[in-house]
Amino acid sequence: MPGLPSFRHFRTRLLVLILGLLTAALGVSYFLVTRANRANAIAHIEENLAGALRVFRFSVELRQERLAQSAKVVSADWPMRTLYLQEELDRHTLRSTLVSYAERLDVPVVTAFGTDGEMLASTMEGLSDELCGPFRHLVQKAESENADQAGDFAYLAGRLHVLVVVPLYAPRPNIIGWFGAAFPIDDTFAQGLKQTTLAEVTFVSGVGETSHRVLATTLPPAWASIVADQMPASRTEAAQTSLVTLDDEPYVTLFIPLGLLGDDPARIALQRSLAAELAPARDLEDIIVLISLAALLIAFLAALGAARNVSQPVQALATHTEVIARGDYGARLDLHRSDELGQLAESFNRMSAGLAERDRVRDLLDKNVSPEVAAQLMREGAALGGEEREVTILFADLRGFTTLSERMPPRELITLLNRYLDAMSGAIEAEGGIIDKFIGDEIMALFGAPVASSDGADRALAAALAMRTALAGFNATLAAEGLPPLAFGVGINTARVVAGNIGSHRRLNYSVIGDGVNVAARLQTLTRDPSHGTDIILSAATLAATRKPWATRHLGVLGVKGRKEAVEIHALA
């Protein structure tokens, strides 16, 4: 089947087109959905982190306030004032007292200062007087602002702390010293902030140091170092958001500068996992993928079905076309469809019916008219009209047929006649003549029409001789069958006649008319005259039209019935 691959190709193309379009549409929508989800998640995390920052600031404020309150309670304590105002300051007792008070108030660091800011005692181990700069800074600030307290972020022994100082009155407004309290921003603090805000918290030292140092974090140490390395290098005061990848997971990270007393600002990194935020959206995206795959599968099957639905009938039509091309017009194609393809099949059926009809007509035409006339009719159509041309007309009449007809049954008679006519027709057609018509047992044949030829006269004479030979052969057969021999008479004339399709609109006959036709018929009847002694008579016009030499015998000039002029006739030897 030569048509098949292209149909397969059509099916493939349809599949590729539908699946391609669908995949593109689904892919684009998936892409847009994931992008929107991601953008939403980042925006949501940024909001959360801004909230976490507020929680941090509020928490620090609250603790700072509590520190101040505690420090005030200690500063107002009677034994404490007594200790301060002893003749000689007992630092050991002061320190042990501070330890006791720090426990009582649950304050991590309590430190006592003299009026000039000199450190007297501290509960913090390793906190020397030199390291108390930030406290002294706050003391100066409180003094200059005449404030009851001052506080800020600062490093104490290298660790980040929130500091508060309050004056020790004895009595107010006489300041006999200062109390400093502090709590560390350490991993525990970071964990506490994480519990409230659900954000990962990392504190990193300022950019002024040679390398960023992790001060406190909720992250594993290795991750915290990564966060420290990603800290913005600039000293800008603005908060910055960026994506930091920890263990292949992106974290939306908010970096906030944290002003320090006498040092470069530290920074807080607040982080939340983008993957965790996206998890619910990811579930939805997975469902979209599943639905998309299902849709693709359904579309694939539907497209396959549709392609089959089209390609199969088209294949059937192609096959049917092949059958018709082979000439089998009788085959019918039934697709059992009412759509365009069904209509196409119907058209095909009508077409093949039409072709079958034409074929039948052509067949009948071939039998009823000569092949040349039939061909011309098929070619030029059955137009009425005509043309004048020179034609050689041959009439052949059977002798003694009437006698024979009385002695034979009709069927056998027709059979015999047809055998005779068949033999004669063969001789005529062999020479290129066409049978114009059979008139009973008489044959009218034309040479040079409908196809003009220059040697019509020669071929007519040759045909006449061949007919004579054929008749002899036919007679031998008849003799063998025990039948009497037959004889014929042939008249040949060449003349300009009118040729054309003659008849009504319903029925046409290609024929020739004119005086020359009558002359030919008349010459045939002359063969009955025994005086001429020939069965083939031709006119001088025919003889004149020949190009080859023919053995003829001049018979004379005779007046022909119904014709003014006499006709010179010859016998063909």
Binding site: T93, R95, D106, T123
Partner: protein, 213 residues
């Protein structure tokens, strides 16, 4: 708080009585463990107790910022001195009914005695060291004993007779007592159980930065 951890079991294990010198051995248990610092005393119900000619010298030191000993039973009328053996000052006080006193910030080496003349429980504190706590159990009788780390306490030197057996411990809400007769041939009384309170003493960290916040 009905946990067995707070069951205080007093078992009177041995009773020996001679003419004028009785001896009562008591084992104090907390669950299966011995309980130290319980004070067991016998107060006669039928006779009065005459004060001794000379009271023993009793000392409660401040050492390593603690009271030593933690619990001190004394007979009413005893003077107790409070020497400071630390290199820091202390500021001890009592706000208890039997004896209210205060010794403001005094330095190492200083020792002053206080007379405890009324029976009862005196809780000692230090104004500048919250974790410091000590008890003085002032009794109207000379026959008392404090359980040692093995939970054992031996009261001796009392004559036969009817007594109020009293038990006190810092983790008892108030002293528990019952009447017993101690005479030759008497069986020791049945063990009795008491409910202990949780230990609420301040857990003192080492003298440095307190942990936690």
């Amino acid at each position: 708080m009905r946990s067995s951890r707070f069951i205080f079991l007093l078992v009177l294990t041995g009773l020996a009585l001679r003419a004028a010198d009785g001896s009562l051995t008591v084992r104090v248990q907390h669950g299966q463990l011995p309980l130290a610092d319980a004070v067991v005393s016998l107060t006669p119900l039928d006779t009065t107790v005459s004060p001794p000619a000379v009271f023993p010298e009793v000392t409660i030191a401040q050492e390593d910022k603690e009271f030593d000993p933690y619990v001190t039973p004394v007979m009413a009328g005893t003077r107790v001195s409070f020497p400071n053996r630390d290199n820091v000052q202390h500021h001890i006080y009592s706000l208890s009914k039997p004896k209210r006193f205060e010794k403001p910030l005094y330095a190492s080496g200083a020792s002053e005695s206080v007379l405890f003349d009324l029976p009862g429980i005196v809780a000692l504190g230090c104004n500048i060291h919250d974790w410091m706590i000590g008890y003085i159990v002032i009794l109207p009788t000379p026959w008392f004993a404090k359980s040692d780390t093995g939970g054992g306490a031996v009261v001796s030197g009392f004559p036969a007779g009817r007594y109020r057996l009293e038990v006190w411990h810092p983790r008892l809400a108030k002293p528990v007592s019952r009447e017993i007769t101690l005479a030759a041939g008497e069986n020791p009384p049945e063990p009795f159980t008491l409910q202990l309170k949780p230990d609420r003493r301040i857990r003192r960290t080492t003298d440095g930065r307190p942990g936690g916040y």
